[in-house]
């Protein structure tokens, strides 16, 4: 039983209000002083909330002026850890999930190494196809240790975006990731699931995601290159 700190509840509450449009883009949030009163907590707690929302890119904080909801689309967002479904949704696609399937397996050696676990440990395998506007775009497999997400198989219907799900249900906050990007010709199964000809060129992403440098999930994605492109911004030399 994980106990959630207060700031986390408030963080989720405000995040939802932004998503729902209760705080619209450009709106000022209440001042920190007011937020203290609204949620009956100290300034420290409020500032923790503000700092989380800000590092998410939801708000822009300016000393002397105030805190306002950021423009999500035009913001020059540097690389942040996002999922395919989150990105599709941000680009105004209607995102749905087809044939989600969760089972328990023992990891292959490669996956065990990535997750720094034993090959005899039980892990969940989450498999699904992501559709954007009813067109299949990606096949995604997530591998995650039982200890992180007990009974995730009972909650199968709630998963829209895995990272958001992990955050709200299990208090797991992915804060970094390593991706290995490649390409491959589609095989029979991929062609069937993604509705493309056999041999079509597809992108492949292998990702290890971390919370505080501890590996949480290993993800394999196979993506239609005609429907999705990967954007990477790098800085510094």
């Amino acid at each position: 039983m994980t106990k959630k700190p207060m700031y986390y509840d408030i963080y989720l509450k405000i995040k939802n209000m932004i998503s729902n449009g209760e705080y619209a883009v450009g709106d000022f949030l209440p001042t920190e002083n007011d937020l203290e009163k609204i949620y009956r907590v100290s300034r420290t707690t409020i500032r923790k909330v503000i700092s989380l929302l800000s590092s998410d890119g939801y708000i822009e904080v300016k000393q002397g002026s105030g805190t306002r909801v950021a423009n999500f689309n035009s913001t020059q967002r540097f690389n942040r850890v996002t999922s395919i479904s989150e990105t599709l949704r941000k680009n105004n696609n209607i995102v749905t999930t087809k044939s989600i399937f969760i089972d328990t397996i023992k990891p292959e050696k490669k996956i065990a190494e990535k997750l720094k676990i034993d090959v005899n440990d039980d892990i969940y395998r989450v498999q699904r196809v992501i559709l954007a506007n009813d067109i299949p775009v990606a096949i995604i497999k997530n591998y995650i240790h039982h200890k992180f997400t007990p009974k995730i198989d009972k909650k199968v219907n709630d998963i829209k975006s895995l990272y958001i799900f992990l955050e709200s249900e299990y208090n797991l906050r992915i804060d970094s990731a390593k991706d290995l990007i490649s390409a491959k010709n589609s095989d029979f199964i991929e062609s069937e699931l993604l509705n493309v000809d056999i041999g079509t060129s597809l992108m492949s992403i292998e990702r290890t995601s971390f919370q505080k440098n501890i590996p949480i999930t290993y993800d394999e994605s196979i993506i239609r290159a005609d429907k999705y492109k990967i954007e990477v911004h790098t800085k510094g030399r």
Copy 2:
């Protein structure tokens, strides 16, 4: 005159001690309680310092156990702008260039937009094939405005890695880049140049590179997926 907060001084001090080896990799830092006493500040200030060092990757914080200096090698390195040839070289490949060719063209509309120039401006087009250990790995086209690299066509033999070349010859220091990564089936010409069957899945990278937010080059790379993978590290959510 900008006044520096206390936490910043302490942050720099500890960062230097780590760089100098006064705190070596694996060493525990003093506890937060002790640091309060050492620097005669409150816990809040110390925790701000710790949080900065941690997000820099210098230290690893673990509740109940302590805070220790992180191993910089195994820590995930941040993305930096690198080229394919630089990366191949770093992985101990012998990198050579085949059939380099430079000409002057007028940009297509798409390229003019990326470089924020006029379609009537003259630009150089640099084309080459990159080999690693004598095996062709990538076809690269670079587009760059005449004004940035006058007479680059006379220096054709000196180019090993374009970014390094730009830096040493023209004092152009690329400091950020935007990549768009996709995949495609190889056509006839690509198959010939890369020595693969027609239809083989290849990676494609379209990059715009910048110096201080001014676009310098637009690059198109076609890469053999069996010889090269793209690594991306992201941080923050």
